[in-house]
Each structure stands twice: as C-alpha cells, then as structure tokens.
C-alpha cells in the first residue's frame, strides 16, 4: 500500500512534502518522490491522502 508521484507530471512545487504525516516525501533529481516503505496512504491519519489533496496537478500521484 503506497502512492507514487509520476515524475513527468510533477512541477516540483513541494506542496506535498510538508503535508505527509509519515515524512515519506523528499526531493530527488528535480522532482519529488514517495518512499513506498513509509507511505501509508494516510490511513489512520486523515480521511484522504494529503499529497493527492494538495497536489495542483490532477493525476500526478497514483496508487501503485
């Protein structure tokens, strides 16, 4: 259970990084990536995944 940022769609705006309750998001190679080992899709924290809710590009973050 984890989410993935589609690098080609990421604008590197960094909005998702501070919202992640698991500190699973970091910058790498000009865009951001989610550490699948840390990602819980926000279950137990929030109703919806925070990175998807704040991301300005619809479809940029997907379930893997």
């Amino acid at each position: 259970m984890a989410l993935k940022i589609i690098a080609s769609m990421c604008t590197a705006c960094s909005a998702c990084e501070p919202e992640c309750p698991n500190v699973a998001i970091r910058e790498k190679g000009g865009t951001f990536i989610i550490d699948p080992a840390k990602c819980t899709e926000c279950e137990g924290h929030f109703d919806a995944p925070q990175c998807i809710a704040v991301c300005p590009v619809d479809g940029c973050i997907k379930k893997v």
Binding site: A15, E19, F46, A53, V54, P56
Partner: protein, 526 residues
C-alpha cells in the same frame, strides 16, 4: 456596510472627472476630508500622490516602493525571489505547470531558489543596482504556504541588507495565522489577491482550496477563503501594515463585482487596490485559457478602474511581473543574476553608496514635481476649447520619469490621461519591440498601433520616418518635440499645443477607439 465613506479629497477630485456611477455614489455619501479610518491613523490619499498628499509616516513607507507609489516606480527597482513554489489553493487563471500567469508569472525556465541562494542573489543585485529598494516574495506559489522558506529568507536579509524593504504577496488563506510572524520581520507591505467578496462568484474562480487537511471545493471553499482574506486584511490594518489588494478582472465573472470588492477592502483599511486584466491564452493551459474565457480590452479595464477610483487608491502601474523579476517595473534584468553569474561576482554591500544614489534620485524627483506644477499653470488659460477635454497619450520612457526612449526601442508605453487639471498615469501597454538590429519590423507596427489605439499622441525621444507616417495614418500623432523632458511636463505641454491648434482651427478633435491588451506577462528585455 458601514455608513462611513472612505473617500479622500484627492480621490473625489479624480472621481468627479471620471463621472462613473460608483464614484458618484461615493461622492454623494462622502463627508469629505482625508479619511484616517481603518486604523493606526492610516490615511487614504492617492498612491499617485506625493509627500503633500499623505501623512509623513505613510509617505516614509511608500516613497521608495515602486509598487506602492506610482511616482517611485519611475526611479526605484524591486526584485522578487522565487523561494515559495507551493500553493494552498487552485485558481482557474493559474496553471501550476506554467505557474501563475496572472499574478507572478515565473514561467517554466526560472530557477527556484533556496533561502540561502535567494539572500545571496538579493545582496548581489542590491550591490549592482543601487535603486533596488524592495525585495518581495511573490511565489511562484503562495508566500505563506511556504512559511519556513519565506521567513528564513526574510530573517537572513534583515541581518545582511537591513535597508531593503521586505514585502510579500499571498492569496490570504493562511494569512490570519501568519500575521504575528509577518510583523516580526518589519514587513511594511503585504499584497493580498482578492477577486471576490461573494462566495458565489468565488466558486467560479477557485475550484478548490486545501484547508485543515482536506481538499474543499465549491461555495464552501470560496466561503472559507473569503473569511480568511477579510480577517487577514483587518488584522494587518490593525497592526499598521500597508496592504495592496490585487484583483484579476475576469469579464462576465467579476467585472461589476469588483466595485463591491473595492468597497469592502477599502472599508477594512486597504491602502491600494490594483485591478489587473485577466491573462488567458490557451497555451498557458489554465482552465480559463482552455474554456476560452477572454480577458478585458484596455477600455474595459480602464472603465472598471475609473469606477473604483472613488473607493480605494488605485494602482495602475502594475506590470504583473514574474516571481523572479529584477529591476524597474517593466524591465527584467533577472538574466544578469542567474546563480552561476552570482557565484562569479565579487559582491561588496556598500550601504553608503546606496544611500548616496538614493539621495540623487530624490533631487531628480523634486525637479520632476516642480516641472509638473509649472506645466499645469501653463494649460490653465481659457482658450475657448472644451475645458473638460481629456485625451490619452502614450509615452516611451526608460525611467527617471522622462520621455527618453526611442520609439523603436520601446517594449511598453506608459499611458497618461491629460486634461487641464492633470496628467494622470492610467496604465501601461506592453508591445513587441519595433526596432530590431537597426531595422524597423513592419509587421510589428500594426500590433503597436493596436496597443495604443485609444491614444491621441505618442511621446518619444526619437522616431523613424516609416513608423511616423504610419502612426499619423492611424490617427496617432508622433511627438519627439519633448525629448528628455519630464513626462508630466511633456504631456501637459503637448496638450496645451494640441488645444491651441484646435483653437486656431488647424485640426479638429476626434474621439479614439479601444485598444488591445497584449497577452502574456513581461518575460525578458528583448
């Protein structure tokens, strides 16, 4: 609505000339006098005004700020550092891939900076450009959606370049929570983008906001945003921070509604209201760009601005500049200060040199002011021509408040509305460079004519024979007789001459048509 009117004498004077419905209503309601309501003794006398028009402490705050003082923008420069890429709302006129086309358009090529890099860049620019007096954080996202990066930058700058004024711009959603932090860094100026005061209108502009860990949409989103914006504005006013309200004019969505926005923000102590045209090209990929929502024409924009003149002080010299712009408004020297170039520069931050330069600028400004008063005296004679006549003139300038640019070198024209009472700056028009490498580009001329088609004359330092003839054919008089004179004096002198020619029966006064607002923000000096 409060019963108190917030109208200054200066605004009234101009409002009467505009004769717009809103101005008339406000005029009727006005009790007169320079309003000091809205907290902290902040008066509301013209942003285009000088030291005589506002209390000394306000003048001190705005006199070197090119965005807050129309007069200052001829002499002082600003820069933005792009340290704040994240945003907490989505606007239909903004595509985050291209960043925001309307507010602080950084484009895809700009470098995002860390706070350390930003401070280094500011110090380098300030050493190179002594008239750079203001540093703003305007995105590319929202300054307050990136609080750590924004305030880290401010903190370091306060230590390393204490004479530089700091300001920021925000959509207002996170503003109330950040007001205390803003005041900590002596930030005198905050810009809030407010496009509506009615959530029904807001729902057509904002598809969603990110609020308390949720994506909120529709009327609910617009209601929250509206409440936060109003609360934030009131809190800043109570603390004596000057506020500028930016509004994007979206025809058919908020055009008439902006009169109400103007009243509401003025009521809450806004210092300045900046009404800007929507920029929406399909290639920007914004919702409005893709749905074919058009921007306003030059005269549509001017009509709303004129109607709002009786409300809050109106800013008309905004260039909708990029979040990483450097230089005078209307110019962009950011290419000279890329990270690798800064690394190669030897930077000495010389406070005395900066002060000495700025003192020289003050002398020049005083001379400009005197020239304007003398020229105003000269147009007062009764010449039998319509005393209420008002015409627009376009001016080519490279700064210092003078008519000092060759027609072929102009990338924008400043527009002044001239009457017997004043030469009032009412806006600017971006154009494509006519002269490229010494040769005029004939295909550029029609677009320049289109951009200044509502003007009777264009004042330049010099102009070639070809464009001269074509401008004349289009009914715009090319004028190089006032080269290197101060703009207001030049405009008023031309106006006096124009009236004389009418009085002598040499020419007849004909109304002009509308003009086109060039799409796309200023990107680089060509």
């Amino acid at each position: 609505m409060s019963n108190t009117a917030f109208v200054s004498i200066g605004d009234l004077r101009r409002g009467r000339q505009a004769l717009s419905p809103v101005a008339q209503i406000l005029e009727t309601a006005a009790s007169g006098g320079c309003s000091t309501s809205g907290g902290e003794g902040k008066a509301s006398c013209g942003s285009s005004g000088g030291p005589d028009d506002m209390p000394a402490e306000i003048w001190e705050k705005v006199k070197n700020h090119p965005c807050y003082s129309e007069e200052a923008h001829h002499h002082y420069a600003r820069m933005h550092v792009a340290v704040a890429p994240a945003c907490n709302i989505q606007c239909n006129y903004c595509n985050r891939k291209y960043d925001c086309s309307n507010e602080s358009r950084p484009g895809v090529v700009s470098q995002k900076l860390t706070p350390d890099q930003a401070v280094k860049k500011v110090v380098a620019v300030a050493s190179e450009i002594p008239q750079m007096t203001v540093l703003g954080i305007a995105g590319p996202g929202d300054a307050l959606a990136n609080p750590k990066k924004t305030f880290d930058t401010f903190r370091m700058l306060q230590e390393q370049a204490p004479d530089i004024k700091l300001c920021l711009s925000t959509n207002g959603l996170a503003l109330p929570q950040m007001v205390d932090e803003i005041c900590k860094y002596n930030i005198d100026h905050v810009t809030i983008t407010i496009n509506m005061v009615d959530p029904e209108v807001g729902a057509k502009i904002y598809p969603w906001i990110f609020w308390e860990h949720r994506r909120v949409t529709g009327i609910e989103a617009a209601t929250i945003l509206h409440k936060q914006q109003m609360l934030g504005l009131e809190m800043l006013t109570a603390r004596g921070v000057l506020t500028k309200i930016n509004s994007v004019l979206i025809p058919g969505i908020n055009d008439e509604h902006l009169y109400e926005v103007n009243r509401e923000v003025k009521k809450r102590g806004a210092f300045l209201h900046n009404i800007m045209p929507l920029i929406s090209e399909a290639e920007h990929g914004t919702v409005f760009g893709l749905t074919g929502q058009r921007g306003p024409s030059a005269q549509e924009l001017k009509a709303v601005q004129d109607a709002c003149m009786g409300g809050a002080n109106l800013m008309r010299h905004c260039r909708q500049c990029r979040a990483d712009a450097v230089g005078l408004l209307g110019e962009d020297r950011s290419d000279e200060f890329t990270l690798d170039k800064i690394d190669a520069m030897e930077v000495v931050y010389d406070l005395d040199k900066r002060r000495a330069y700025q003192e020289k600028v003050e002398v020049e400004r005083a001379a400009q002011h005197e020239a304007k008063l003398a020229a105003l005296d000269a147009v007062q004679d009764d010449d039998g021509v319509d005393a209420d006549m008002k015409v627009l003139v376009a001016v080519a300038t490279e700064g210092h408040g003078k008519v000092n640019q060759h027609f072929g070198h102009a990338t924008e024209f400043q527009i002044f509305e001239v009457s017997k009472a004043e030469a009032l700056f009412v806006g600017h028009r971006r154009v494509d460079l006519y002269c490229q490498g010494g040769y005029g580009e004939d295909e550029q001329l029609p677009s320049i004519v289109g951009a200044i088609n509502d003007c009777h004359a264009v004042l330049v330092s010099k102009i070639g024979a070809c464009p001269r003839d074509e401008l004349k054919a289009a009914g715009i008089e090319p004028v190089d007789a006032y080269a290197h004179e101060f703009i207001e004096k030049a405009a008023l002198s031309w106006f006096a001459d124009y009236r004389e020619r009418i009085a002598r029966g040499e020419i007849s006064h004909e109304p002009r048509g509308d003009a086109r607002i060039r799409q796309g923000a200023f990107t680089a000096a060509a």
